[in-house]
């Protein structure tokens, strides 16, 4: 499970490099994500643009990632593919996160 991390003033962008975020890869994803965000300040934008399959365990990992963040740090999402967007919408987790169409939109906001 590969993640790339880009830190700018006030925002950390974490990008997944995998096409699947499922039960087989979720533990590694959580470990990498925790390392990437636990010292972040300001906003964290998780770019899921590479992910075209997300199951409930992957969703649970994204939801749980908020617990890794320092107080006052928000987790936002960007680049949801149609299959990933559907999972967030059907579970109503789309109302829990700020979701940007693309990372560029998140940075502009």
């Amino acid at each position: 499970m590969q993640l790339s991390v880009m830190r700018e003033t006030g925002v950390t962008v974490v990008r997944t490099e995998e096409s699947r975020l499922d039960a087989a890869g979720v533990l590694a994803f959580k470990d990498r994500l925790r390392e990437a965000v636990q010292t972040a300040q300001g906003r964290v934008v998780l770019d899921l643009g590479s992910v075209n399959f997300l199951d409930s365990s992957g969703l649970g990992a994204v939801v749980a990632a908020r617990k890794f963040l320092a107080d006052g740090v928000a987790l936002e999402l960007a680049g949801l593919t149609p299959a990933v967007e559907r999972v967030f919408r059907l579970t109503r987790m789309d109302s829990v996160f700020t979701i940007h169409p693309r990372v560029e939109d998140a940075l502009a906001g």
Binding site: A23, A24, S56, S57, A61, V87, T91, R92
Partner: protein, 139 residues
């Protein structure tokens, strides 16, 4: 009528591999992208449940049969594990189910219909269908 069957060990890595094989198979090849994604998601949730619960941390076989017929994809999943808990009768997903887990059953119930669970000759048998044409539910 497209039909295929796969038998594999119910663990997360084998489930992923099986789903990837189904993606290339005859039944899913007949579906549009939205219906294909929905069927794969329901299969993933069902098979993750088997991997997680049926063999109590051990491993055992699971057999998946898929059949495309009359505008729906019909699935039958059989394992030899402990008696499966019922998928329940709740309506869709609970938005307050924020802790990890708990999302899978809601997704199954939202996307699949005709869900039947029974125990037969020491096996859990789960049957469901997912819309496979544009007259279906959310896709």
């Amino acid at each position: 009528m497209a039909f295929e069957r796969a038998r594999f060990v119910a663990d997360p890595v084998a489930v992923r591999a099986a789903l990837q094989r189904f993606e290339q198979g005859a039944v899913l090849a007949s579906l549009g992208a939205d219906h294909r994604d929905c069927l794969l998601l329901v299969l993933a949730e069902v098979l993750n449940n088997v991997a997680e619960h049926a063999y109590s941390g051990g491993s055992g076989p699971v057999t998946v049969s898929l059949r495309l017929c009359s505008g729906s994809a019909f699935a039958r999943v059989v394992d030899r594990g402990v008696c499966a808990p019922p998928l329940g009768s709740g309506a869709g997903c609970d938005p307050l189910a924020l802790p990890e887990g708990g999302f899978g059953t809601g997704l199954i119930r939202t996307l699949a219909s005709g869900i039947v669970q029974h125990r037969r000759i020491g096996c859990n048998v789960l049957q469901f269908r997912v819309a496979a044409d544009n007259s279906g539910r959310d896709a």
